[in-house]
Structures are given as structure tokens and as C-alpha cells.
Symmetry: C2
Subunit: 85 residues, 2 copies
């Protein structure tokens, strides 16, 4: 008999190395025009999520599936899942 | 006489509490339809950035200004800057 626990997690989704990042390039150019000494900018997403699962391990397994199915595009993006203790 | 150093930093930009996050709401609904037991989703941006400055303190000061001017909308977003040592 399992009871669900509210688990919080943060997922970082970033463009893979070598994949073009037009949003990062645009921001890099804009920062340089403003005078900032930037040499590289890459932009991804941070997803803060709460879910009800048996425990942190189950939450991580669910979030891996959620990343593969919806939160990231595994062809061009990599993701990191951090589950709060 | 100062020499510039390449500094790497990561900035997290998130919607402030109480601010509507339509992207997060859409993803929350989509995950629930897929059967994931999610109860909250908030979506922001992760910005990985490199810049040439005197040191890490100067980098942080520059990045604060970059966030206020371009990387975040301080009215509706909060940001966290982590400079790599």
C-alpha cells in the first residue's frame, strides 16, 4: 500500500553541443551591441515541477520519461534532473 | 593594468511567484493528459554565458546589469546568477 508524496524537482534542458542555438546567438549579438564583453551565449529552459509519487526515485523515473516524451527533444537537447530531498 | 579572464556563468530566469505562466500551464496540462501525476509546472530560461572580465566579481556585476537590461524582465521575472570558480 503506497502513499503519494509531493516531490519537487528542477529540470534543465539545454541545446546539445554543436547544435545551432539561434536564440543564444541573437542574445549574444544584442549583449555585444550593448557593450557587454560576452563571447558565448546558449539558451535553454528551466522547468520547476511538482508531482505526487511514492518517493524521490519514482519521481526521477517519471521525470526521465516526461523529458523523453515532452519536456525535451532528445535529438537536439540534453536534460538534467535534480530532485529535491 | 588588468588582463581579461574568460569567465563562465549560468543564469536562471524564472517567472516570479504569482505571475501567470501560460507556458507552464500548457505543459502541466499536457503532462497530465499523458498520465503524469504532476501538480505544478513553471517554466523559465537557463542562460549559459561566457564573458571576458577582470575577475569573477566583475563578471557578476556585468551579468546583473545584463539581466536588468536584456536577459530578464525584472517586473515579472527573477534571476539567479552562478559564476563558475
Amino acid at each position: 500500500m503506497s502513499t503519494a508524496t509531493r516531490v519537487k524537482a528542477t529540470i534543465l534542458v539545454r541545446p546539445k553541443e554543436g547544435i545551432l542555438d539561434p536564440q543564444g546567438q541573437a542574445v549574444e549579438g544584442a549583449l555585444q551591441e550593448l557593450g557587454f564583453p560576452v563571447t558565448a551565449v546558449r539558451i535553454g529552459r528551466v522547468v520547476d515541477i511538482e508531482l505526487d509519487t511514492a518517493d524521490a526515485d519514482e519521481a526521477r523515473a517519471q521525470l526521465e520519461r516526461a523529458c523523453e516524451q515532452l519536456l525535451a527533444n532528445p535529438l537536439i537537447e540534453r536534460y538534467e534532473i535534480a530532485v529535491e530531498r
